[in-house]
Amino acid sequence: MKQFFKLYKIEQKLFFRSVDVFIFNLCMPVITLFLIGLIVGSKMAGDSGLTYLESSFAAISTVGICCSAFMSIPIVMVDYRDKKILKHFYCSPCSPARLLFVDMLCSGVMAALSAICVTITACAGFGYRMSGNVIIYIGAWLLTMISMFSIGLLVAALCKTVKSMNVAASLLYFPMLLFSGATIPVELFPKSLQLVAGYLPLGVGIRLMKGVSAGIPVAAMGREILILTLIAAVCITTAVKTFRWE
């Protein structure tokens, strides 16, 4: 345990040293929420029954997840493999899997920090209060995170080179960020684009979180929960089978 925490402490420090993480994970979501809150915060968002602020709160809480899952995780894993760091761990009594797990944990912490910053902005800046159950909301957020992380893991496992991983990560990150409703409110999209957003994995997670934050009972969100769980199960099993240490 002590060994695990030593490793975790050092890897987490490294995450905080990256400027990209600071900008994309922390600054960007806070600024986006701030702008939306300021411009259209109190208007009703389409026919969802929520204001733009309430709707965007749930959506923007997933920006950190998006950044961690589709940028951090694949980049870190493929980079470590490329630099023979995983090879070195393979030649130690500790499995490289421990390092990868630690990095996933660090990414999760960064995503959580992002969600916390967004929450503080919404509550302190705009007086937001959630009508749904906070504990269930956190559960929905965690499920979305695990599901998206599993996709990132799969990308890391399948991409053999840093170049192909950069392409894959960008192809995942930007569309998910822009078209799933994580930043631009999905209610502003035309009907056809709203349909697309509904099919993107992150879009499913956002729909779940919006519903839970609005107080819709968990039983009514069964379809979203099932889809996210299935994504996680399939991606994790495939990733574990196909991952190469070098």
Binding site: I10, K83, K84, H88, Y90, P93
Partner: protein
């Protein structure tokens, strides 16, 4: 007469039967104990690395071909050869990173890939041209690797031994090539290993730095460390190695102490003897290296 014999400290599983001989041997009061495993070990130095008929093929090219050698505990063993001769592949097969197409490679009598947790507590490795996490500092990378072992060495004293103690807080990215190479040796030693593998150890170091590293390795050898190294530099092989093995295109050309190898050649220096064994002049060896490099690419 055969009977099983119970001994303490776990030696029981190694003993399969005791044969009683009528004539007393000066050993255990007249009985010769036969071990099921490691029979020869009992009568000579403990074998650390054992390679038997190893072979590996890439794209139809035999990179390692019928290679056999053993390395005993406490000795410094050098694997010499041109680029592409199969040195790194041999190390990777011993460490279980690559599976041999044929043959057995054992570390401490076990296959590394199947007993990783046990074996790698006693093994340190330094790879050619490895790099580290961006933005990590020297002290942090030492702490990180130390956290992988049950009984790690004091990394600060290791850094001091290799002249890196002033760079503990520096980012690894800012180290010079020589400093990086020394750091990689520190990391190989950080788990307090019994055997270390050094792949092209002093490539990129200036003469003074190289001598410094040799001095430290010789000191560690006196403390019982087994060293398996690959090198291009003949003076390094002469300075450090107890025994060497020369590889050409994956096949063993000769194995023995430096003295033995020199004796069976018409030359006095290891470099000339090496070229003679490779069956070539200086121009031939450069051409073959170029061919091997092309084949790899």
């Amino acid at each position: 007469m055969e009977k099983s014999f119970e001994m303490d400290n776990g030696a029981a599983q190694k003993f399969a039967k005791i044969e009683f001989f009528p004539l007393t041997l000066p050993f255990r009061g007249g009985c010769k104990i036969l071990l099921e495993k490691d029979k020869e070990d009992f009568f000579m130095d403990k074998t650390c690395i054992d390679v038997k008929n190893a072979a590996k093929e890439y794209d139809g090219r035999r990179v390692v071909d019928g290679l056999s050698f053993t390395v005993c505990s406490g000795e410094v063993f050098g694997l010499l050869g041109h680029n592409g001769a199969g040195k790194t592949t041999t190390i990777e097969m011993i460490l279980g990173l690559k599976k041999p197409d044929f043959g057995e490679l054992e570390l401490f009598g076990l296959e590394a890939a199947k007993h990783r947790k046990e074996i790698f507590e006693k093994v340190g490795v330094q790879f050619q041209s490895s790099s580290y996490q961006a933005a990590i500092r020297v002290g942090e990378v030492c702490e990180e690797y130390a956290s992988l072992y049950r009984k790690p060495a004091d990394y600060q004293s290791l850094l001091k031994q290799f002249g890196l103690e002033k760079l503990t807080k520096s980012p690894v990215m800012k180290l010079s090539g020589g400093e990086r190479q020394r750091l990689s040796v520190v990391l190989a030693l950080i788990g307090n290993p019994e055997v270390i593998f050094l792949d092209e150890l002093t490539t990129g170091l200036d003469v003074a730095a190289r001598r410094e590293v040799w001095r430290t390795l010789k000191k560690l050898k006196k403390q019982g460390l087994t060293i398996f190294l690959t090198t291009h530099y003949m003076e390094e092989a002469e300075a450090l190695c107890d025994r060497i093995c020369i590889l050409k295109k994956g096949k063993k050309v000769i194995e023995g102490t430096v003295g033995e190898i020199l004796q069976s050649s018409p030359y006095r220096t290891l470099e000339e003897a090496y070229l003679w064994y490779m069956g070539e002049t200086v121009e031939d060896s450069e051409k073959e290296e170029a061919d091997n490099n092309e084949a790899i690419l």
